[in-house]
Amino acid sequence: MRGVRSVDEVGAEERAASLAKRSIKKSSKLWALDLAIRCIDLTTLEGSDTPGKVAALCAKGIRPKPGDPSIPSVAAICIYPARVADAKLHLRGSSVRVASVATAFPSGQSFTSVKVAEVKDAVAAGADEVDMVIDRGAFLSGDHEKVYEEIVAVKEACGPAHLKVILETGELGTYDNVRRASILAMAAGADFIKTSTGKVQPAATLPASLVMMEAIRDFVRETGRPVGFKPAGGIRTSKQAIAYLVVLYETLGAEWMTPERFRLGASTLLNDVLMQIEKERTGAYQSGDYFTID
């Protein structure tokens, strides 16, 4: 990975900060908020997740605002492998997909054979998409080959399912590493690259996302194969979500502004987006009690 071009930390952070200052108002704000909902991977990843909790989340994902058909469904529900079957059942007939984390999420510290088996079982249970984690231990110790081969193996195990590769940028330490891991994951066959598990701080950040998007841009230039991007963790407000959309738009362009190529991994973001849409439409903020908590 030494041949991968370096990243300037100061430059990346400045560029991200300047894009975060874009002022998105009125019609463009409504458009962005609508897109944000369509791109959300509505997520619950707790030890306490039950079939009931997943059912509630699925209902919310299909119809985020009951009684308002203009609000679209989210892109997917993101859950642990053991809950895939529950989600599949409750999402039947809707456009919402089932995304399952896998490969010893969130640490990735297990045997490749176990990870591959987990992915196969998740897909067999009905997962449309698999969110795997890379082996950061191997990556940071310099064993890039192991990381690569594991992604290749998982991709194969996915079969028709869509593969998102989580880099866990908060554990990689430098933007140079973020860029290297991005290139490595794409070369190994990732359909999407994703920032974080949400279990490590910092989770998604705007500069790390910019670095990943720039890596995608370079990868597409080299190979012609488009790869999607998913920031996850810590994105709770509409303002943050719009900042990600602005960086996406000005880095990868309009073609990436679709759930096929962009996802937002989030749980509490959805209600804030709904509240902001209502505010844009009516000019007034509604009480939190008008938005369902699931």
């Binding site: 560029r15 019609s27 720039e214």
Partner: protein, 490 residues
């Protein structure tokens, strides 16, 4: 991919059109007509002559300002001379207090100043808001701190102020250049007569109001407006002891000639044709941002603009591809819109100069690239422009264009980069992009330029001295060095 493709009609709808986001202007009051700021108050001019100042983005008149004549300038210099005694003998910590006050009021009135700067000069509001005004305040803040430490700033020497400083500033960063001039002069105990540029006098007149609000002693700061004639009256006035000029090399030479033998102290900050040098190991995306910031910031109306891109031949192709893509995302238009990246050209005359030089580039055989970019109908506009196939001998590689026009040249080795970069009559700034720390130092040692930026460009800080080599002028502004031109060391 596993997900079904959307219908093409849906894809077509997927453009992210930023809705207009104009900065409010209703909180700003621009007088229909201004006088001169002399002796602590706004006074009617002896000349009785006014001229309009317009908004270059709309060509609409904003106000009428005075064209000061010999008598007006004489009044201003006399007021400054009269104030010098009191100001220079004031307890240094009290002098500091006034300058801190100016800094604080600039911060308090930042939005108003930013809007006026953008309306009068054409620069994007995001630049006046995030760069010009905060830096101007920072400059006053920084030099306020020097006022009571001067005595210990120069070992075994005693600093003495000079008297009245005559200062003439350009139109590219009106308030910031005012701050660069006035802050060190006042901290050192001098009084000033300042003439803002003909096309951008309004923020200086607003600063006059700030001086009154700060209850600055009358005559310490005087502001006279007008054109080149007024400027020459200021610098040649016999009671002016020190002249500071920022502007074109052409006018700088005239001033230097006219002051020869008068004993007046002079500092000049003039033109530039800076090289921005990108090595093959540079972080490319950051370099692209640096190149864009280097030449398209403030429509290229920057004396230290990185107007010559020197790129190592082995990476010229991917770098230019990235650069062209990035040019396509620059948003040109209403300077008051918060999302505008490129505003209006400052004046019709400047636009004509840019057009003339760009035409010469095409004629001499350089290849021009301009992104698709719709220019507004009224006002003065020029799209971001890039020239490739440029030779060192072309006018666009030698003359200062002072517009959003970049000339791209290539080099093969570090030695060749140094040679080409230094092969210019100017020497204000340079940029070096490389991942290799030792090469940055190696390059910095060899650049004949007052400022060398490493992996960044157009970064300013009041603590850092700024100034030129060769035809880019002499004297330094900023930092402790910036005090020297305003002091006599005995």
């Amino acid at each position: 991919m596993a997900i079904a493709k959307r219908a093409p009609t849906d894809l077509a709808k997927q453009t992210f059109e930023y809705a207009p986001a104009p900065e409010a202007i209703d909180h700003v009051k621009i007088e229909p007509r201004y006088g001169l700021f002399i002796g602590g108050k706004m006074v009617a001019p002896h000349s009785k002559k006014h001229f309009p100042t317009i908004n270059p983005a709309t060509e609409q008149k904003l106000s009428d300002v005075v064209e000061a004549d010999e008598v007006d300038v004489d009044h201003a210099v006399k007021a400054a001379d009269k104030a010098f005694e009191g100001w220079s003998r004031l307890t240094p910590s009290r002098r500091a207090r006034y300058i801190f006050r100016l800094s604080r009021i600039i911060q308090e009135r930042a939005r108003e100043l930013a809007v006026v700067e953008t309306m009068d000069g054409g620069k994007p509001i995001k630049e006046s808001r995030d760069v010009d005004i905060p830096l101007a305040a920072a400059h006053f803040f920084y030099y306020a701190g020097w006022a009571d430490k001067l005595e210990w700033a120069f070992a075994n020497r005693k600093p003495r102020p000079l008297g009245v400083a005559g200062q003439v500033i350009p139109w590219n960063f009106p308030l910031l250049m005012l701050a660069w001039k006035i802050a060190p002069a006042l901290a050192a105990g001098n009084t000033v007569v300042l003439k803002p540029a003909e096309t951008t006098p309004l923020s200086a007149l607003l600063f006059a109001d700030i001086c009154m609000q700060a209850e600055l002693p009358p005559g310490v700061v005087n502001i006279v407006t007008g054109g080149g004639k007024t400027g020459s009256l200021v610098v040649t006035h016999p009671a002016v002891k020190k002249v500071a000029f920022t502007g074109s090399t052409e006018v700088g030479k005239l001033i230097a000639r006219s002051l020869a033998g008068t004993g007046k102290r002079l500092t000049l900050e003039l033109g530039g044709k800076a090289a921005n040098i990108v090595f093959d190991d540079a972080p490319l995306d950051a370099a692209v941002e640096g190149i864009v910031n280097g030449i398209y910031f403030n429509q290229g109306h920057v004396c230290c603009a990185g107007s010559r891109l020197l790129v190592q031949e082995s990476i010229a192709e991917p770098l230019l591809e990235k650069l062209k893509l990035r040019l396509g995302t620059l948003r040109l238009g209403d300077p008051l819109d918060k999302n505008t990246d490129i505003g209006a050209i400052n004046s019709k005359a400047q636009l004509e100069k840019i057009e003339e030089l760009v035409e010469s580039g095409v004629e001499e055989g350089a290849q021009i690239y301009q992104p698709e970019c719709k220019l507004p109908e009224r006002g003065f506009w020029f799209p971001p422009t890039l020239f490739t196939n440029v030779s060192q001998s072309y006018r666009i590689a030698r003359e200062e264009i002072f517009g959003p026009v970049l000339s791209v040249l290539t080099f093969r080795t570090p030695a060749e980069a140094v040679e080409k970069a230094n092969n210019t009559p100017y020497g204000l700034s340079a940029g070096v992009w490389t991942d290799k720390g030792s090469r940055i130092l190696w390059m910095a040692e060899r650049m004949r330029a007052g400022v060398v930026w490493a992996n960044t460009f157009n970064r300013f800080d009041p603590t850092s001295p700024f100034g030129g080599y060769k035809e880019s002028g002499f004297g330094r502004e900023g930092g402790r060095h910036g005090l020297m031109p305003y002091l006599e060391l005995v």
